[in-house]
Subunit: 341 residues, 2 copies
């Protein structure tokens, strides 16, 4: 299918296509599971949940769960749909996080649509998020793997910790690169890691393979978030589903800023303090911010860091035998990193 | 210990004392488990969690879990602390709900203290709630009972559904008694039911006993909430830890209102529409509301409804052999209902 794609000289052309094709059957079942499990007699629940879920997104996380299970030769015994249910659980956990994040960030937009909290209120975002988390755990229980439950429930706490860390570090320009990495390991990469790790777990593969899949997911997740951070200062709003400069307007200290602040002169530091710490933002400040980031080359550097984590993710897959699934997972890394170009 | 307490002619004198004494050892371990499981390197998490958890409350839900396990002869094999961990999980689920409720209700006070969301912001309340939910599931996984996990994860979704139903019914004076009961079954009674049901489950007792414990908890929970509703128009703020009239000021349609609205004349209906639906509340409106409720006798009637559910709760325990634990559980019902006097 894709023998040439594993060649590192020819990255990111096929993008996610091979991976998507390999798990297409499973994703159909994931999508119908998502639809049926957002059902509720309480009409507002499917309304709010589907507003967000139906608005798309790549469903990268459930795809990773299915692919890692497939990579490890998971066989669905007696139609239990273990991989499908865990994949849907992972997507529900992700959606719950997005709903709660919107309340935390006071966001107006999400995935190019009005945020649920604007349309239905903070209340609905909080409660429908809670409902989806509950449904996620119910599906995991149905799968019946205590190890998978352990991994995903631990992930739920680590994600919340990462978000709280981000809150505590908010507007703090002294945030170090290490501290920032700890935040994104929690808030983003942990769910990628868990999504991948449960694949070998339900396929009952060795701890070494579980750890390898986890490492792939963790490093891919870090790369993914760093690229998102760079895109927030350079992507186009149609590509991203949100406007360029959101992080800037919200005073979020992301890696491009962490790196730039340390190299900034006194005048530039004054600019960062006024805009990001004090939140006094004028019309042309985003343009100024971009020019400072470009002057210090920190967007390129953020992408370079992402590439490093991407390489680590790819290396983690070395212990698995070559084949179309492994190739497609390697491609997925290239796809994530290449988004920044 | 308490042979006379089972005598229905002598209710509520001992209150919760017997129940508290019977589970005292377990509750010590529950409390230290709560303390250790709110620990996090992220300092804000224990701060926020303990602000609420340390402010007390009766810990009725974990007490019920321990008591129902004890009633069913649960033996802690190899120090796994199954009952203790499930009890702590139940309290974490409850605390998470309170944190998220404060955001939903925009509350300023909780248990007589400033609400966490006022002190740390909505963000912290949402995220620390999520952290506690994650920790609750981790503890359940450690206990290793898939049935208990199933019951408590289902409860998490039902609670969220109940809260969303309440949201959808908010300010709607046409809410029927049935619709209101559906709301409180979800938002309050379901966790009482689950807290009780997991006792016989981990003691590996029959389905009939699981169902009986669940019915006890469900009906006790309904009674508990109805009494809370009545207290909100009649308790004193020191007893309740929140001010009389909170529900009124928030436009909550509780049973005393549901019953009164149907009996109100046109002028009174106009009053309810202005205050509860439109939220235009003046200084002496709470006094007027109280006098309308008293005129229609709906506070007493709400307490009578609570007493009915309390009797159903007590009858559910008939299949268990008489003894100090069953006696104390019967007392607990009286205690809950008697709070309204």
């Amino acid at each position: 299918m894709a023998a040439t794609i594993e060649n590192p000289q020819k990255p990111d052309e096929a993008g996610l296509n091979d991976l998507v094709a390999l798990v297409a059957d499973g994703m159909k079942r994931v999508n119908s599971t998502i639809l049926s499990r957002t059902g509720s007699d309480v009409a507002m629940i499917p309304e709010v949940a589907n507003h967000l879920i139906a608005s798309g997104g790549k469903r990268l996380r459930p795809i990773l769960t299915l692919a890692c299970a497939q990579l490890c030769g998971y066989v669905d015994e007696a139609g239990k749909d273990g991989d499908v249910k865990l994949a849907a659980s992972v997507e529900f956990m992700h959606t719950a996080t997005l709903l709660h994040d919107d309340v935390v960030d006071e966001s107006d937009m999400r995935r190019g649509r009005v945020a649920a909290r604007i349309k239905w209120g903070n209340e609905a975002s909080v409660l429908v998020g809670d409902f989806l988390l509950g449904q996620a755990f119910r599906m995991m229980v149905e799968v019946g793997s205590l190890k998978a439950l352990d991994i995903l429930s631990a992930a739920a706490t680590v994600i919340a910790e990462g978000e709280v860390m981000q809150l505590a570090a908010a507007k703090n320009l002294e945030t170090s690169e290490d501290a920032y990495l700890a935040v994104i390991r929690g808030k983003t990469a942990e769910l990628f890691a868990a999504a991948c790790e449960v694949g070998p777990v339900i396929a009952q593969r060795s701890e070494a393979e579980q750890a390898a899949a986890r490492s792939y997911g963790m490093n891919l997740g870090i790369a993914f978030q760093l690229i998102d951070d760079a895109l927030d200062y350079g992507g186009t709003s149609t590509e991203l589903g949100k406007n360029v400069g959101d992080d800037f307007r919200e005073g979020k200290i992301t890696l491009p800023i962490v790196l730039a602040y340390r190299r900034s002169d006194e005048e530039e530091r004054g600019f960062w303090r006024r805009t990001l710490t004090r939140g006094e933002i004028r019309d042309d400040d985003l343009a100024t911010a971009l020019s400072i980031l470009r002057r210090h080359g920190t967007l390129e550097e953020t992408v370079a860091r992402a590439r490093h984590y991407g390489e680590t993710a790819k290396a983690a897959l070395d212990i698995f035998p070559a084949g179309p699934v492994r190739s497609a997972l390697l491609d997925a890394v290239e796809f994530c990193v290449a988004r920044a170009h």
